[in-house]
């Protein structure tokens, strides 16, 4: 037997060590809290860091195995390949189940370690760490017990099949899962502090003020991750769309919906000391839905086009989901009398009133999406019949809810807390409604005749007017008071009210994205054309395609065959697109790589449909023209900027020169 340390052994050992230390951290944390033993509590905090270090070793071991093509490690043998470029080998770590869990466990342990050292030392920290370590322990144990990526292959193959071709096809696949997990893991921190608040009977606002940055970070990552996934789908799958209401998409949408409700309703608790129980409920729900989603995706209980397959981890995730729902909701139910609100809503027409209504709408949408996703399973369990719930149901349910949310999004930030001044409300609303009507009429004249796109345009104008009114209300009094011009005052306002300004940026981005969805959803043209080489095709709006030639391309990792197409707008050539079909390795199904001309008003999207071969003098192309679809991607970037802006630390209020004098004086 070879006695040298193999990567397989090192990896398994790191996982086992991480698991053991993690369990120790939990036990030490619980004992430390019950006995009020500061030394045990400190030990638990250092143990959380040790878990992270052990997990980091495991991750580095996996990376070494992937980069050195060590096929004696099971995961490498199953999912990697000699010919893959280096970046693909790195991201292969999260291209399949075992590695994804490893990434998740690593990030979870990293957040636990970070929380152990940045959280203020108070009653909540200790229990929150116990919960965070428990969550890490679950994920590490999935790796250590049921899906060990480091299992030794006794007779290693010379090469492996490589990761799923669709994942090798686009760099976004390197980013999307990481963002997703950062979102999930980020939202685990407020969950852990919420549980700590319930356990220690301190259900005030402390837990959520301490985790505000974590919540917004997690929420931001989750939202960006969803859109990144949509963009990947658009760039890679060849159907020219980005969202299909597939079960896998739906279940990862659910925690985003409840998290969005949460980041709004915590503000009501912060200001009005209301909705305490509601906020606890939302954060528990968010975390539970994260685990439920992972269970649904990984167990394959609902048919989906996303091929994750029937993994061995399904029952394991189900057990964890049941444990969380029973444990966390059970504790909340037990403590209900202590967390229930005593205060009452003064008036529905107030900031908190709109936040509450918005919350109801977000939850209604989450419920409808969950129901639609699980309905086929339910019917089959009851009657044995097969049904499918498709996009029409989800669109019909969610579009009116979105419109309701847009209506609230415009008016909510303009209303004061407690009770609105009716005169002011009517003044603001009349500006906003007038803008909406004007925009809708203009859109109608320019040819927008479909109901939902018209409504979206109307609500977009309504919301832009709302943002203008908000800025006006923030800037005008300051201009009067200081006598300075608009721009310097706006800059100062933006720096002083970072949360307010950040939220305005995020709401603006939501409207931009809504317009993108309305345009591309309502007015997409999708056709399949057969073109002879050298031939041309006329498209909608002055565009024309000219098929120039075929081409072949070979890199060590793939063979591609494609078509060179010139795109003309009028008589001007605006782009040359090269859609192609790729084959990665011998055992995989070929996948298309569409090519897209991005423009502000509409995308021209080409995908090769059918074969490209030397003895064939025609090609079949799928041509999709999507108006405004680029607005979604731009909107996502703006949303990210707004989220970061919310999180930036407040500028010191003392002006720089004054501070320096003060320092010099001291």
């Amino acid at each position: 037997m070879d006695m040298s340390l193999s990567l397989s052994t090192l990896g398994t050992a790191s996982l086992t060590l991480a698991m053991a230390v993690c369990v120790y951290a939990m036990v030490a944390g619980i004992l430390g809290a019950r006995r009020r033993d500061a030394r045990l509590q400190t030990s638990a905090r250092y143990a959380a860091v040790a878990v992270f270090m052990a997990m980091t070793t495991a991750v580095l071991t996996m990376q070494t195995a992937l980069l050195t093509d060590d096929f004696s490690v099971q995961y490498v043998a199953n999912t990697s390949r000699l010919a893959s470029p280096t970046w693909v080998k790195v991201v292969t770590m999260w291209a399949a189940l075992e590695g994804s869990i490893l990434l998740w466990a690593w990030l979870a342990s990293g957040y636990a370690a970070l929380a152990a050292f940045v959280s203020p030392n108070n009653a909540l920290r200790n229990w929150a760490l116990v919960i965070l370590n428990a969550v890490s322990a679950f994920f590490i144990s999935v790796n250590a017990l049921v899906a060990n990526p480091f299992t030794l292959v006794p007779n290693p193959p010379l090469d492996g099949p490589g990761p799923n071709a669709l994942l090798q096809n686009h760099w976004m696949m390197a980013v999307h899962p990481v963002l997703m997990y950062l979102g999930f893991v980020g939202l685990t921190v407020p969950f852990a502090f919420a549980m700590a608040a319930l356990i220690t009977k301190r259900p005030g606002s402390e837990w959520m003020q301490q985790t505000r940055a974590w919540s917004i970070t997690g929420w931001g990552f989750l939202g960006i991750a969803k859109i990144a996934g949509g963009w990947w789908s658009y760039e890679v799958l060849g159907w020219g769309g980005y969202w299909a209401w597939d079960p896998v998409e739906n279940v990862s949408f659910l925690p985003w919906l409840t998290a969005t409700a949460f980041i709004h309703s915590v503000q009501v608790q912060e200001r009005r000391r209301m909705l305490k129980a509601w906020n606890l409920l939302l954060i528990i729900l968010t975390f539970a839905l994260t685990i439920l989603g992972t269970f649904i995706i990984r167990s394959g209980i609902v048919s989906s086009v996303h091929a994750f397959g029937d993994g061995p981890v399904g029952p394991y995730f189900l057990a964890f989901f049941l444990l969380i729902t029973l444990g966390a909701f059970g504790l909340l139910a037990w403590r209900w009398d202590q967390v229930r609100d005593r205060g009452e809503l003064d008036a529905i027409v107030s900031r908190e009133g709109t936040f509450l209504l918005g919350n109801v709408l977000f939850l209604a949408m989450a419920f409808a999406v969950l129901l639609g996703t699980l309905f086929p399973l339910f019917v089959e369990a009851v009657s044995g019949d097969k049904v499918t719930v498709g996009a029409p149901f989800f669109n019909q349910v969610s579009l009116p809810i979105w419109l309701g949310l847009f209506a609230l999004m415009g008016i909510g930030p303009l209303l004061p807390w407690r009770k609105a001044n009716h005169q002011k409300l009517i003044h603001n609303l009349s500006w906003m409604v007038a803008s909406a009507i004007l925009a809708a009429v203009l859109a109608y004249i320019f040819g927008v005749r479909k109901v939902y796109p018209l409504w979206t345009v109307a609500f977009a104008a309504y919301n832009f007017a709302s943002i203008a009114l908000l800025l006006d209300a923030g800037v005008r009094p300051r201009m009067k008071a200081t006598g300075r011009g608009f721009w310097p005052v706006l800059g100062q306002y933006a720096q002083e009210s970072r949360r307010r300004f950040g939220s305005i940026i995020v709401h603006f981005s939501v409207i931009i994205m809504a317009l993108g969805v309305a345009g591309s959803g309502g007015y997409r043209v999708d056709e399949q054309v057969r073109v002879d080489l050298g031939g041309t095709v006329a498209l909608d709006g002055n565009y024309r395609l000219e098929v120039v030639d075929r081409f072949m391309e070979q890199t060590p990792a793939r063979i591609s065959a494609g078509v060179i197409v010139n795109v003309f707008n009028g008589n001007r050539q605006v782009a040359t697109l090269r859609p192609r079909i790729n084959a990665f390795g011998a055992d995989q199904q070929p996948v298309p790589t569409p090519d897209v001309l991005y423009t502000a008003w509409q995308d021209i999207y080409l995908s090769v449909a059918g074969t490209v071969s030397p003895d064939q003098d025609f090609v079949v192309l799928r041509v999709v023209q999507s108006p405004l679809v680029a607005w979604i991607w731009v909107g996502a970037v703006i949303m990210g900027i707004g989220t970061v802006y919310c999180l930036l630390p407040k500028r010191r209020l003392v002006p720089e020169p004054a501070r320096q004098t003060a320092l010099a004086g001291s």
Partner: protein, 237 residues
């Protein structure tokens, strides 16, 4: 400091009945079980009865969900994907399919299937049409089953393989040699047949009556049990 001020005013709203349990004010570390066993004051009975009712509701709800999910993971994954074909009970679309070289001697170069003619299937017998590709894992599992069926029942049933969505024919030929498939296999050029038959994954197997109508479509690898069950329907006793 901003955060210190906040947590100070956050601690005050223990305005609410958390003060019923004396432990709260003094200790952060009071274990949850202490509160559970010792609610303390009068009216506590009532409170804990309400809490128990709430817990029972929760357990019922979670139990229902758990039942649904356990059903979900324990059912046969093949059954999950077997959505009835819309073609069931109807004549299948006609096709003409070039066969691989190795079958030319016994079955000719091209196999014609015209369900609408009076003779229906090519040999006037019931058929099993199997769609496969060389890259598809479950196709490898079912290949021996199909070959065995052909050897046992080849006189009564025409077993037909359709190679579809394969990248090149060399892979397909290697597959045929590896499993030594003696029933006729042909090439689905440009995936035409697959599209006409509405396949959405591989493998899929169509069981066809002698008159050319579809009896049953199976998604996923076929097993001997599935084939035996269908043969009973297809063959006169």
């Amino acid at each position: 400091m901003d955060s210190a001020k906040r947590s100070a005013d956050a601690a005050t709203p223990s305005s609410t009945p958390s003060s019923t349990t004396p432990a709260t004010t003094s200790s952060s570390a009071s274990a949850s079980s202490a509160a559970v066993n010792d609610p303390g004051h009068e009216g506590a009975d009532n409170t804990s009865r309400k809490a128990i009712t709430r817990l029972l509701w929760l357990i019922a709800l979670v139990g229902g969900l758990a039942g649904l999910f356990v059903f979900g993971i324990t059912r046969d994954p093949n059954r999950r994907d077997n959505i009835d074909s819309v073609l069931t009970g109807r004549p299948l679309p006609a096709f003409s399919m070039p066969l691989f070289d190795r079958y030319h001697e016994n079955y000719g170069e091209v196999l014609e299937f015209t369900a609408n003619s009076s003779t229906s299937t090519p040999t006037g017998q019931p058929m099993i049409i199997n769609f496969w590709a060389s890259w598809c894992g479950p196709c490898k599992d079912e290949a021996p089953v199909l070959e065995r069926t052909h050897r046992r029942h080849g006189d009564d049933v025409l077993v037909l393989g359709v190679n579809t969505q394969d990248r090149n024919q060399d892979n397909a030929r290697a597959f045929l040699s590896e499993y030594n498939l003696t029933f006729p296999n042909g090439i689905d050029e440009n995936s035409r047949i697959g599209i006409n038959y509405g396949i959405f994954g591989l493998p899929e197997t169509f069981f066809v009556a002698a008159d050319g109508t579809l009896l049953y479509k199976h998604a996923g690898a076929v097993t001997q049990a599935v084939i035996d069950e269908q043969l009973e329907r297809m063959l006169p006793q």
